[in-house]
């Protein structure tokens, strides 16, 4: 694993994430969010899960981020973006981060070396999806259909 690449990606991802959380302009925040997700996808590549990385890019950057931008455009009218910041949230988030880091540090079992050359091929994923995971796959399909219909119903103009 390339440590330089890792360092670069980590910095990029976290700074983009901070930008997404803190920027005032909604559109800017959404674009930073997309960058952060690309960073996560890069992590996936780095970890040998290329297919998941690709899915991450397609689904998040290609669909979710675009969807967010569209929603921002649709709901921009009449809203004031320059609004206060809830500092109690920052405190809680920092506390959670500290707790998590503490938990990670004090678990020695985590310090294992990665075996080289581990990767998962699309073929393996496909076979797993069609054999062991065929039932969850169908359920997710159903869920996506329901979400699609539900989203449509929600945004339909109310009948007057």
């Amino acid at each position: 694993m390339n440590s330089a690449a890792f360092f670069f990606i980590a910095v990029l991802t976290l700074s983009a994430a901070v930008a997404a959380a803190c920027l005032r302009q909604l559109v800017h925040a959404a674009l930073s969010f997309a960058v952060a997700l690309v960073g996560v996808a890069a992590f996936y590549f780095l970890l040998g899960a290329e297919f998941v990385g690709l899915v991450q890019v397609f689904v998040y950057v290609g669909a979710v981020a675009v969807l967010i931008v569209f929603t921002i455009l649709l709901t921009r009218h009449g809203t004031d973006e320059n609004r206060g910041f809830n500092w109690s949230g920052v405190v809680i988030a920092l506390a959670v981060l500290a707790a998590l880091l503490w938990a990670i540090m004090r678990t020695p079992a985590l310090y294992v070396a990665a075996q080289p050359g581990v990767t998962v091929t699309v073929r393996q994923i496909g076979e797993a999806l069609m054999s062991d995971y065929v039932w969850p796959l169908q359920c997710v399909g159903l869920l996506l259909t329901a979400a699609l219909i539900g989203a449509l119903v929600l945004v339909l103009e109310e009948k007057r």
């Binding site: 959380a21 297919f51 899915v55």
Partner: protein, 105 residues
Amino acid sequence: MMTPTLPTFLMISAALFCIGLLAALSRRHAIFILIGIEMMLAAAGLNFIAFWRFGPQPAPPIGVMVTIFAIAIAAAEAAVGLALVIAVYRHYRTTDVDQVDQLKG
């Protein structure tokens, strides 16, 4: 520079999670909350992949499968959440979650 190990990945993912939490807790705009939730989900996915990568090998790609399903569910959640944002905006003429408090006691 050090070689990335499992704890470093977990820390990155913890940081990502907390940034998502920060966005969800501190921003008033509903879309920020959604962005924060999506970020938390992505952090969870990163955890799964990291544990799979550093776990005993060869193993069935359970972490990979779970992440794929998590991405699919996150997509569904984003679609419904954004539709809710639009519906709420139509009804209340605002996307500020402070002003949407019909459930208050």
